[in-house]
């Protein structure tokens, strides 16, 4: 994949990356016939932002022979590369090194060229099967208006509550009727419907969402000088923020809202299950050893997932790796170990990401044992382990399904294996240890 842009558009992309960096720690890039898409998901998976740039923003745009391409890169190196864009006249993005690195060439004024190679972590992508056009309530206003709303609240606030009635919108930092402590200052901003460009609220609803991601997106709207559209239904349903600019840039932020029973995100939030599906693409089919029924099973899961509850998985990860484990398993571990970027990637960051990856691996549906950089795995490549999909969450409202067990190969040796056991509770002392002194804390 290779694309080039001129300075002004490159600055827009830099601003997009800066906004997305405030949301998540990784950037998912997808290039297809229509253009380039950048996505990010926040650590608690309650918000996904997706910014798409249409093909006409680019001077040249070449796709790989497979027609599309996905990659996931760490956010920190991107921020470093796209930090100072004032002098940039020309920018070229390409995937090199057999899909291991994203190369960014910036040609700046005074004949300076900056080149950066960012390691591609893997080829995961996020998709969401949330219907985005079906919300009954929609409000559109200039970014300045939302900026004023956002500035009325302290920057340390975490949540914003919008109470919409057919005539007016009220933005608050508290929920009516919720008991708060005495030292909490309540703030409220009341706006009439005439202040917005477009205001359509069918019936009153109250939604509460995290303001941090909203502010990050607002930052991008301000950079584009565009209007923002908010679309929502009621408490518990997802909340969409859309920005459109000249049909070239379309942005969508999906936020989850507090369900009516919960009091606050911070107390009750539970992370959602990540569903990883292995979809095959053309190249995989050619040398594929993946059986047919497996593909269909995964597609069904994608279609069935709905958004009625906060517990269901909103977003699914699709694994777009082209290598087939059975043949090139030896290559895989090398790729997954986070390569040193040419940008300074702090070691702890790499390890932390690798740990995150390791944890998500433990939850994944696919049973192709994917190594993480904290584990050393030896594969028995002849085994083709069966796949185990987690139960569809819709069927069980009350119980959260257990993380699916990892299928161990015969020769797999794992480090930190206790961390992935259900019974591992870090705080409890092991029964073998001796209690040398009783707990002297009187409140227990």
């Amino acid at each position: 994949m290779k694309c080039t842009l001129e300075g002004g558009n490159a600055r827009v992309i830099a601003k997009a990356i800066q906004s997305l960096s405030k949301i998540g720690k990784e950037l998912f890039i997808e290039a297809d016939v229509h253009g380039l898409k950048m996505r990010s998901i926040n650590p608690t998976q309650s918000a996904v932002a997706s910014i798409s740039f249409s093909r006409c923003m680019f001077d040249t745009f070449q796709l790989p022979p497979s027609g599309d391409c996905f990659c996931k890169i760490a956010m920190k190196p991107c921020l470093g590369v796209f930090r100072n864009m004032k002098q940039v006249e020309y920018c070229e993005l390409s995937i090199v090194g057999n899909k291991t690195k994203l190369q960014v060439n910036l040609r700046c004024k005074l004949e300076t060229t900056k080149q950066a190679l960012i390691a591609i972590v893997d080829e995961l992508n996020i998709t969401s099967s949330v219907p985005t056009d079906q919300s009954p309530n929609s409000i559109r206003g200039d970014h300045k208006l939302f900026m004023e709303i956002s500035n009325s609240f302290n920057s340390s606030e975490e949540e914003l509550t919008l109470e919409a009635t057919p005539d007016s919108l009220s933005a608050k930092n508290y929920i009516e009727g919720a008991r708060v402590n005495d030292k909490f200052m309540r703030s409220q901003l009341k706006l009439k419907h005439s202040e917005f460009e477009h205001y359509q609220v069918a019936e009153g609803s109250v939604i509460t969402f995290c303001i941090k991601e909203f502010r990050a997106f607002l930052l991008f709207a301000e950079a584009l000088n565009a209007a923002m559209t908010l679309e929502f239904d009621d408490a518990g349903s997802p909340f969409f923020v859309k920005i459109k600019k000249h049909r070239d840039i379309e942005c969508l932020l999906i936020l989850s809202t507090l369900s009516p029973e919960d009091v606050s995100f911070s107390e009750d939030y539970r992370p959602r299950d990540i569903t990883v599906c292995n979809t095959t693409n053309a190249s995989q089919k050619r040398k594929s050893s993946t059986p047919g029924p497996e593909i269909q099973q995964k597609r069904r899961l994608a279609e069935d997932t709905t958004l009625s509850e906060l517990d269901t998985s909103l977003f699914q990860f699709r694994d777009r790796r082209t290598e087939v484990p059975s043949e090139v398993a030896s290559v895989q571990p090398a790729r997954m170990l986070a390569d040193g970027d040419t940008m300074d990637l702090v070691d702890e960051e790499a390890e932390e990401e690798a740990m995150l990856l390791a944890v998500s691996d433990a939850v994944e549906a696919s049973q192709i044992p994917r190594p993480s950089s904290t584990e050393v795995c030896f594969f028995n490549t002849e085994d083709a382990p069966p796949t185990l999909l987690p139960e569809d969450n819709n069927e069980e409202d009350e119980s959260i399904p257990q993380s699916p067990e990892r299928e161990r190969g015969l020769r797999v040796r794992t480090i930190f294996s206790r961390c992935f056991q259900n019974t591992y509770v870090p705080r409890e002392p092991s029964p073998n240890s001796q209690v040398y002194a009783p707990n002297s804390d009187t409140e227990d």
């Binding site: 200039d142 300045k144 208006l145 004023e148 009325s152 302290n154 008991r179 708060v180 005495d182 030292k183 909490f184 200052m185 309540r186 703030s187 409220q188 901003l189 009341k190 706006l191 009439k192 005439s194 202040e195």
Partner: protein, 319 residues
């Protein structure tokens, strides 16, 4: 009645439940409403609140029939903030001002609130050029807890209609039995008061002197001169302000008492406290009056307008 009498006899350390009950009960009768309409006054009020927020965490608000006072006193908690209080004549700032104390014979309503909250709730009054504020209402309310509701009516350039910004600042109502510890400080009796016209100069000067010496000596003379001296092992730095206006002793009396009064009055104070005071000021005024009480304290007075005065006391320290 019996509850009130019991509380008057009780000590300060009664259990919180009784206090809460009493404050709730008295709040039912207690009323306070004020409304500001003038943009300039609103901005000044916001500047006062911002100054208080920079000085201390909590501030005491005393609401009387004709006046409103704010006191910030963190002398005991930390060494860096001095005692500062502001007296505001309510009819200047608030064309509508109505106050009913808890009981008819009482003169005040005494409230304690977080200075940061107050400052933040008034922040919208500062916006000035981008949007204009129509009015600002202060209202003592009881939602789940007592609070001062600051309701600002703002017209932004994007819209033609005013919108409301409401902040509920939680307050603690102080019952009359505890008023003794919250009363307004008295302006100390100073022998000399000089008016220094350049506040900004003083602020940057004291900021730099903070690193030289922990104590600062103010020498004031009836000839209209003020000397600021900071001594360290290596150097002594003296800044002379001359031709200052002498506010006290009065010019008219100087003829009679010139021989008897001392030529120079001095007092040394903590530089950090002085620096904290000057750095906290957010008001546009440039003239400040410095009163010196020989070896006892320095009394600072800032006349924001005729009936709105900010005072501060810097106690003397041993050199």
């Amino acid at each position: 009645m019996t509850i009130c009498e019991k509380l008057r006899n009780s000590s300060v350390t009664e259990c919180a439940a009784i206090k809460l009950c009493q404050s709730n009960w008295s709040l039912a009768a207690m009323k306070f409403r004020a409304k500001m309409l003038d943009v300039l006054y609103m901005r000044e009020f916001q500047a006062i609140a911002a100054t208080l927020a920079k000085l201390a965490k909590d501030c005491v608000m005393i609401v009387a029939q004709e006046r409103m006072h704010f006191i910030v006193n963190e002398e005991h908690c930390s060494t860096s903030s001095p005692l500062v209080w502001v007296s505001i004549a309510s009819k200047d700032y608030f064309p509508e001002y109505q106050m009913t104390p808890a009981r008819p014979e009482q003169e005040f309503i005494v409230l304690v609130m977080s200075a940061m909250h107050l400052s933040r709730s008034l922040a919208v009054l500062r916006s000035g050029s981008s949007s204009s504020v129509h009015s600002c209402k202060l209202n003592l309310k009881q939602i789940q807890f007592p609070c001062i509701s600051v309701i600002a009516s703002v017209v932004s350039p994007n819209s033609s209609e005013p919108r409301e910004v409401v902040h509920d600042v939680p307050v603690t109502v102080i019952p009359a039995s505890d008023w003794a510890s919250f009363m307004l400080p008295k302006v100390p009796n100073t022998q000399i008061v000089l008016g220094v016209p350049s506040l900004r100069l003083l602020r940057s000067l004291i900021d730099k002197l903070k690193n030289i010496s922990p104590s600062l000596i103010f020498h004031g003379s009836t000839a209209g001169e003020l000397n600021l001296v900071a001594e360290s092992e290596m150097a002594t730095i003296t800044t002379r302000f001359s031709r200052l206006l002498l506010h006290k002793p009065d010019q008219g009396q100087s003829g009679a008492g010139a021989e008897t009064s001392e030529p120079e009055i001095s007092c040394s104070v903590d530089t950090r406290k002085a620096s904290a005071f000057f750095n906290a000021l957010q008001l546009p005024n440039e003239e400040i009056m410095i009163g010196i009480d020989s070896e006892r304290c320095i009394c600072l007075q800032l006349d924001i307008r005729s009936n709105v005065v900010l005072h501060s006391i810097l106690p003397a320290v041993c050199v």
